[in-house]
Every structure is written in C-alpha cells, then in structure tokens.
Point group: C2
Chain length 239, copies 2
C-alpha cells in the first residue's frame, strides 16, 4: 500500500455536508448490537472517515461519545476498539440488570392500565417474524431491544438510558460467550412477560423476568476469544 503520509484531506466528499454525528453513533451502535462488529475490532479514524464521508473531527467526537457509553474503548495513541467485556464485567452487567429490571416490570404491571403497550405487542410480532425467517442479526437486535422498550414504556428517560447501556453490553457479552444458536432470548419468554404485565400481575411478571435473565446468563460458557472484523465499510455501510 503506497504512502501518502499526510492524507488529511480525504477525497471522499465535500466534507462539510455528510451524515450527522448521532447518525454515525447510531450506525455503529446498531452494528455492535447486531454483533456484526465483533469485540476488539479496531475502529481507525481514517477508515471511519472514508466510510461515512466526514472529517476527522466529527469521527473523533463520535468515538469519544461511544467510549463514554462504554461501547468502545479508547486507548491512548493506539486508537478505538470495540469493547470486549471480560467475565467479571459480564457478572456485573447481569447483577445490575437483576437489580433494576425486576422492579421495572413490576412497576409496569402495576400501572399497565395507564400505559400504551402496543409498541411492545408489535415488537413481539417483529421478533416472531425474524425468527421464522431465521434472520440472525435481526433476531439478536430485536431480542435486546425488547428489554430496551420495556424501559422506554416507563416514559422515564433515565431508566431508558440505563437499560439501553446494559442491554448493549449484554449483546456484546452474548456475542462473546454465547453458545452459538441459543444466543438470543428463548422463544416465547418475552411474550409471557408481556402477558403478565398486561394482566396486571406484578409478581408473575417479576418472576418470569428473573428466570428469563437467568436463562440468558446460564447460556454462556465463559470460554471464548473474540475475532476482530476487518471490512468496516461492508459492515457499517449497509444496515
């Protein structure tokens, strides 16, 4: 590969335009959620600049934001890498979810009559479709998003953000330690949880959610090394 040692002015596009910051964040976020970007994959600035057709500044802001959300890890003078949770971090994520989600669904069930749960109903339909069509990345993403949407249903911005972060990390963990196929959530557990909420049965909803989380956690084997991807353009370009 030739030199061009100072290729700051990338030949991609008019630079001033190009996608928004949050668009890029969402794009990478989604790729991580769908496990198309494996842990430890390097996200080099130049590569991302080319891919999204923006200047370095915007990319660096995006990387800083992603790192503040724990989605990537910034190493000084070395670059950005997709986060690679270890076992103890995995335990912490599940412990945090065990703390937050049970009271969350309990509260949802208690106030179910005042809430609009059609979003969740529709979501489960989407999950079913994806499962029928065996669309792997879709299944993975939708499985995580169900929990995010539970949090969203509370209408509380802070709870939503917390759960979103925990779910994203769970997705990374499942990608790392999950035994291939049962990686996503078991088939009808989401549906059962939602039904318990709709029937305004807090105890049952809480019980089902706890065992659901336990199922996910027990499906991990904690022996695995990641295999970083390389073709960022292909991965991030579509999606």
């Amino acid at each position: 590969m030739p030199s061009d040692p100072q290729q700051n002015s990338l030949t991609t596009s008019s630079s001033k335009a190009g996608p928004d910051e949050s668009f890029i964040v969402e794009r990478i976020y989604k790729a991580v959620m769908e496990q198309r970007l494996a842990p430890n994959t390097k996200l080099s600035e130049a590569r991302l600049c080319e891919t999204f057709g923006v200047g370095r500044m915007r990319i660096r802001r995006v990387l800083l934001l992603l790192s503040s959300q724990g989605i990537i890890k910034l190493e000084s003078n070395r670059g950005a890498y997709v986060a690679c949770p270890d076992q103890s971090e995995a335990n912490e994520v599940f412990a945090a979810r065990m703390l937050i989600e049970p009271p969350l669904v309990r509260q949802l069930a208690q106030s179910a009559e005042d809430l609009d749960l059609t979003v969740l109903v529709d979501h489960i339909a989407l999950e079913d479709t994806a499962r029928r069509n065996k669309e792997r990345t879709e299944i993975i993403r939708l499985s995580g998003e169900f929990h995010t949407k539970l949090a969203e249903a509370t209408g509380n911005k802070f709870i939503f953000r917390m759960m979103r972060e925990l779910v994203t990390r769970t997705s990374l963990i499942v990608g790392l330690f999950g035994s291939s196929e049962n990686a996503s959530c078991p088939d009808d557990e989401h549906s059962n949880i939602l039904q318990a909420i709709q029937s305004q049965d807090p105890e049952q909803a809480e019980r089902l959610l706890i065992s659901h989380l336990e199922h996910i956690q027990s499906g991990l084997d904690m022996n695995a090394r990641p295999d970083p991807q390389d073709d960022l353009a292909a991965i991030l370009g579509s999606g």
Copy 2:
C-alpha cells in the same frame, strides 16, 4: 474591550502540559455538585481554556463528555450551559431513584456481612463535622455523595455510574427548587439507613430510604428561576 479577534494561542501556559481531561471534568462536576455553578451558567471555551491553562481541543472534549453525562447542555453555535432541569425532569429523576435505590439498599442489607462498610461510617462522620461547622457547600456535596457511596458499596461499576448521574442531577434540582436551608438531606436519616444496613434489616433499610427520598422531594417548591454565575475562574480555580 479590545479586539484581538483571533486569540487562539492563549497566553496562559505551555499548553502541552496542563491538567488532564478527567481532572477538568471532575473539577466542573464537583462545582456543580456543590452548587457553586448555578444552572444555566455559560461555560465558554475561552474562559475555561484560561482557567485550566489548556488548549481548546481538550476543553471541547471535556464539554462533550460533560454533556453526554447530562451535566451541561451543548447548544449548536451557542456554547455550553450548566444543565437546568425542569419540573418534569425532576420528577423523572426521583422516579428513577425510587426504582433503583430501594432494591439497592435492600441488597446491601442482605449482604452486609460480606461488605466493608467503613467507608460509609467514615462518610457520615464527615457529614456530621461539616454540619457542625456549617460548611454549606461541603454539606451539599457530602449529602449527595452518601448515596453515591451506597451504590459504590455494591462493587458494581454500572450501578455506581447510574447513581452518580442521578445524584448529580438531584443536586442540580435541589439547588434550583430547594427552599434555602433544608436543601440538604435531613440530619440523621443517612445514619439511620446505614444502621439498618449494618443490622442486616433489608425491610427497614428500604423503608427508611424511601421516606428519605420522599423528604427530599417534598422539600421542593417547584417555583424558581436560576441565576447564572459569572466569575468562572474564582469558582473553578479553588475547590
């Protein structure tokens, strides 16, 4: 005031050195926690560059990080302002704390025998001292930090970060809507909560915490306008 319209090269210091990014973040964070930086106060880049003796780049990164934590608000082409929560956001913060903190202290009480709670004991001593000496900003900060340290005692990084964000916002809210003097937490409630935890009484700990949060919330009146500070150097310089 004279022009010097392109004062990028600030005459402060050798620029390459200067304080670390996280140092500056912590400094501003602390000033907000202690209510020395009022909501809506503008944080201009140049001012911060002078104050901390660093280049614009580092300040801009700091501002982006602070905004991602919700401590400040970035407005396009206008600058950074200390966050100014409104009533609905205040309600969300307390709702989120009501969801998370009760199970948190319950869990602490359940596993109290395995934990080292001396940090919390020492902390309450600090609170007492500050109260005796009537050090207002210290009292405010320590009152918030007690809750942060409760979360820290779980040893769970995610729970810690969530609580830290919620406590910071609570501090902003109390500063905005709190009726002057009872702004901080009532005197001995922290001590009682800790005692319940130490006696491994989850029910009691949970009960006390809930009423504690209710006390804080009921001490707000929800009529108030902020008064932005101006002398950043004085506020951020010492601390």
